[in-house]
Point group: C3
Chain length 383, copies 3
């Protein structure tokens, strides 16, 4: 996620698939990063290629990279709200096309890296819009903001590259804040709801419902796509499971930890019930647990710590930005994961270089092959 699979890795992927039995091979081909698909699509129609790039982009939102998962997740968004689905699709296509026009790196475009920020901006603009669904004027800022996110992605990458950090959702978080600040609280053309700080407690508080808090955990996974219905959230989780079961597992753990952090800070019940407390924890937990770091019990503990830190930073930033009526989006997880990836010491040895990041399960396999390879090499050097 947030990286492009290198050609040599695709080669490795195909070799590996060849080694396995034919049934497993076919199943394997639909999970993980699906590197073979790029080769297959190379001489197809541009429109078809664009669909694959866009579907990869959909999964990038949740740190995955698989067009099949992408179609499941897009279906979930249309299920939750067709208007949100339309906005998301428009943002996705606009930003991908703008990246093509601006001549961005084709590997990045193919991998869907220029689509997901535009999609997220569009979804958030739809969620906070107070003029109601099917307010067609909104399509204008949606297109402009999606296009702007490409500029931010391209401009931030040389800075973050110095430390081998992913651009991630920094562009989305910046562009959406600019949009909300620009339109202000009572814009006549593009009115929007104001965000409420999580620590603001309404006067008449009812008792906390344990069922609703538990329901907030899968909703936290859906909230990564700004979706707060249970059915679509479970479909998104299923799509993630297709990409990598390990990552889906970490998403649920992270969301539960985020909810726990929210309880410990006594946030508004609404935040817990809708999954808003959980989604930053989920993002943080997924990123560290197996994706950017090799999965083992040490990084698993680190992923839990990251989930807690992401959730607390999210509460802090939500209180800060909420004082201006702004949402904290995924700043908490993005900043925390960036910090974790900069860590020195023992944990840094488990960090996977950005160019070699794939699905957690494949990271594990390529690491063992690579270690075996280096052992063989060492032997041959010894001789």
């Amino acid at each position: 996620m947030w990286t492009d699979s290198k050609p040599d890795m695709r080669e490795a992927g195909r070799k590996e698939a060849r080694d396995a039995g034919p049934a497993v091979k076919r199943l394997m081909a639909l999970t993980g990063d699906m590197p073979h698909l790029d080769k297959f699509m190379q001489d197809k129609l541009f429109a078809l290629q664009l669909v694959v790039w866009a579907l990869r982009g959909v999964t990038r939102v949740i740190l995955a990279n698989n067009p099949l998962s992408g179609s499941l997740m897009l279906a979930a968004i249309y299920w939750a709200s067709p208007w949100q689905g339309l906005l998301g699709t428009l943002g996705l296509l606009t930003s991908t096309l703008v990246a093509v026009i601006l001549g961005q790196d084709s590997g990045e475009v193919w991998g869907g890296l220029h689509g997901f920020n535009g999609m997220l901006v569009s979804l958030l603009m739809g969620v906070f819009n107070s003029a109601g669904d099917w307010y067609w004027w909104l399509l204008l800022p949606v297109c402009l903001a999606s296009a702007t996110s490409v500029f931010f992605f391209s401009g931030l990458s040389p800075v973050l590259d110095r430390w081998d950090l992913p651009v991630a959702v920094f562009p989305f978080n910046m562009v959406i804040i600019i949009y909300f600040l620009c339109t202000g609280p009572d814009n006549p053309y593009f009115p929007h709801h104001l965000a409420v700080p999580p620590s603001w407690v309404p006067p008449n508080v009812t008792a906390l419902s344990a069922t609703q808090v538990l329901q907030g955990i899968p909703l936290g996974v859906g909230q990564i796509f700004a979706c707060s219905s249970l059915g679509p959230s479970l479909l998104i989780l299923a799509g993630l499971c297709l990409y990598s079961p390990l990552q889906a597992f970490h998403a649920l753990i992270g969301s539960a930890i985020g909810t726990l952090a929210g309880l410990s800070m006594a946030v508004r019940h609404e935040c817990l019930y809708t999954g808003l407390s959980g989604f930053n924890g989920a993002l943080g937990c997924m990123a560290v647990g197996g994706l950017f770091f090799m999965f083992n019990w040490k990084t698993h503990l680190l992923a839990i710590a990251t989930a807690f830190l992401s959730a607390y930073v999210d509460i802090a930033l939500s209180n800060l930005l909420g004082a201006m009526g702004l949402p904290a989006c995924s700043w908490g997880a993005t900043l925390t994961v960036t910090l974790l990836m900069l860590l020195r010491g023992d944990v840094a040895t488990y960090r996977i270089p950005l160019g070699q990041v794939r699905a957690p399960e494949q990271n594990l396999r390529s690491r063992s092959r690579w270690q075996a390879g280096s052992a063989v090499e060492q032997e041959s050097t010894d001789v």
Copy 2:
């Protein structure tokens, strides 16, 4: 602007002037960066040299570098308000002298790079001062703030240099925010007006006057010097035209685009009438249209996009900082241009390395000569 013309470029400038006819030569000598003047001034009195450095510094504010344009612009500021002229001159000289004392790079000092931030800080302190003109106590913070801007310029440059970015007006924007925050809303010694967010609409709104909006476009160019009278703004524009007609053209386009962006966000009428909506667009449009990027139709379109983005970011930041009573100054344009200069992909090929930036017209000529040169070189290599 924001760069120093290297000796070899001066050589090229002189050669070029020699090739042209004597009348054109004399005219040419007064436009663009005037690199021959540095040689001429080398053995003159320190006071005379200081005047040239300071006048170059005046034009750096508007991304130009020509002492003659500088004297026109300084005259415009004195015309608009002698008190503002005095403050600007004091800030200009203080920061240039502090840079000399601190032993900053002489090429930077000669090019006026240590004067313009001090001048801008002083002008803004004068504009927001609520104790009236000729309030002599203000000279003390003006001197201190101008001196501080040199520290910021020198300290920021190693960080920005890593990505070949100009320090630009970052020091001005930082120092002025520190000054306003320091003195607070009701300081007994240095009282100042509070900035009003552009989205705040007064209760009794009158109809929008098209004439005043149109007048706001040239005023947007004047607002770069914090000047809001029409006559002086036109004189500033004339000075800019002497440096580079192309840049003056982009300044007007950018200001018009900024006004358009302001209209689309329904900002206060006052912002449109006084040119406050336009000046960030003008700065963004100038920087990308021919100065830091080679001028062609692609970068012209990019300059238009930059002007829109600068203007929207300015509205966003003005709403954010305005909630604390702070002005957004030129943060919008500065951040946007910095982002644009970091862009990857096709547009990056038109980016001119910072050490070779000159007036837009000269950039065009040196590029074609350089390309011809490299073609010749290639031929000779082929042989």
Copy 3:
């Protein structure tokens, strides 16, 4: 301070001590960085080693590095308030142990670099806690926040290392802001006082008392440890004097300058009386006057300028953050010193590379020896 003394420097320290007479030698051995102690402790019990690391960590707060000074300063904190002492000790040990567990660089751990941020976070959490002393629940966030500061220290260091900058108290400043924002103004479990902006003037102002303002100067040194009693502040100053008299002298000058800056901006009397106006000035003055720059009259003037700038930036940030009820902690000094260390030009020649920074007096001696050495080397090259 904020750096680890390299083995070759320890060698030099021992040689130097050997050259001096036995009485001076014994005295010398207790001042400065005490590099010989590390060798002596190497084969001792882990608990004993931990005590030395922790005591070094205590002095890192005030830019020193001497376990004896550390025990004096810790005694001062316990004297001022045993509860604060307990919190500080807990934070110190937690963050040092977490750094050991996370496998951070052992040189950094030995030098106390992973202790001081945790200690400062804990002290500030105690000072702002509004549930009264001996509120045992506070120990939970104290431990978590101290542990988090290690993540911030380790994550920020690769970024700041690019420009040879110390991580300093950035982690403390970030973690404490996150904690205060997280708990919000009326948290039911961890309530805390809100910070008041220094420019907010209460309705009934009494005349300024010169004695109390003067008393604020030594209190400014104590405020570096969030301590506002006179006796303990003097003991802290004595501990600093043991490490380096020059640094203690600069601390007092800096605190006086900070108080002067506060007077010039007409801050609340309380800020002046309690030393809150002075401590950022003290930190800035110490860092530039002899520690990170070679001590001479030029850097002495620069240290005075830094003290003023630190104090003004602190007032500015206190007004900004105070509007949200947040304290500005030592952001002012930290940002200013970071800026100063990035300076180019003549002053940069006096900058000491981070790996070679020791007590100001030792910096002077090692510089002269190094210069003598290079002179000898040059001679031998000439021959």
